[in-house]
Subunit: 209 residues, 2 copies
DNA sequence: CCTACCGATCGGTAGG
DNA sequence: CCTACCGATCGGTAGG
């Protein structure tokens, strides 16, 4: 019980530290100092730095799901939910859910050159996220809200790229226009493949641009 | 003379190491081992790790200019050069100019949360790159090849985002489709704001999509 | 460009 | 959860 609460406070702090300094820059000594506990006391909860890193990724996933994904499930399926999901991502950066920007963007670029279980866990987490994005696109397509010729994997790739581009400019330059630019680009891209609901019974679906 | 050659071989190796392990993961000891020289002998060329990091960024800039930017200057100005610049970026990833993918994408995400001269240098380098991209867009617009309503900063933001998205998927997942997806997205985006040259004297310019 | 060294910090362990 | 410790490595220095 108490051990669980301690462990939880450790991984929460670890996620915040890792989002600014990286998962490798996260050190057991500094984390212990921050939490005013001994290194070995903290260490005992994980057994190795790698396990601490994996636990940190798991905690970041939970926070991401709670902050970005879950709120959107109440929006109606199809185009509205897809658009809401994209806006939710941008808003998650705007609200500063992680102090160093998107934890997963940072972790992806940090570990893409280092083989091992940590890289694999980040790869899986991003695969799940892109998969969720792709699913939202596919559902909108199947609901007749998107051009049937649309390739969900391609659109998911492009939307994710815009999110990373937003993270880049807003974090490295502290450029407040970055999030607006990303929002504009995302909305234009979705609009370009949208099929607007026809209000007349005989009205043919409008051609997409 | 000899000192210059040694220094050059150090920074070349440093760029490669940093592209996979990060600019902070780059350590003087490992770099010295790799080059089969003493730590202090290597260290004497720079005076501090920070100076080594700054020299490494400078070397990466040179390589980027030589590999991505310079080849494109021979292409005719306007739309052709803009398209060639984008393709050159994607081809630079494809050729594996840096072993760990794009040095600047990695460095941007690594240092965007750590204040200091290294972050500032990366910020400036990226500012110059986005500026060059923006200039290519502006030139195409002024040549009448792009919709006059186009905002060069917006398009530059989007193109750079697609490049980073390509780096992400090709590095973290080793997904060979990533570069093709980026190429497709870039070409579609440019096409969407393109004004095709009219071949008839009386022909009005076609509306963009 | 080298050997020889410094204090600090790293991940991790012993033993309680 | 702690104190006390380990060898290895970190960035950096002295002196040549």
């Amino acid at each position: 019980m108490k051990g669980d609460r301690t462990r939880q406070s450790i991984v929460e702090r670890a996620v915040n530290l890792a989002s600014t300094d990286g998962l490798e820059g996260l050190t057991i000594g500094r984390l212990a100092d921050d939490l005013e506990m001994s290194k070995s006391g903290l260490f005992a909860h994980f057994g190795s730095k790698e396990e601490l890193q994996l636990a940190t990724i798991e905690e970041a996933k939970q926070r991401f799901i709670d902050e970005v994904f879950r709120p959107v499930l109440k929006v109606e399926r199809g185009y509205p939910r897809l658009l809401a999901l994209c806006r939710s991502w941008i808003d998650y950066l705007r609200r500063g859910v992680f102090p160093g920007g998107c934890f997963f963007a940072a972790a992806s670029f940090e570990f893409d050159g280092r083989p091992g279980p940590v890289r694999d866990a980040i790869g899986r987490a991003m695969f799940e996220w892109i998969g969720a994005l792709e699913k939202a696109i596919r559902m909108a397509k199947e609901a007749g809200h998107l051009d049937p010729r649309v390739d969900p994997a391609q659109i998911a790739f492009e939307l994710n790229a815009l999110f990373f581009g937003a993270n880049f400019a807003s974090q490295l330059w502290r450029d407040p226009r970055a999030l607006d630019r990303a929002e504009k680009a995302v909305e234009a891209r979705l609009e370009s493949v949208r099929i607007k609901p026809s209000h007349t019974r005989s009205g043919a679906r409008r051609k997409i641009a």
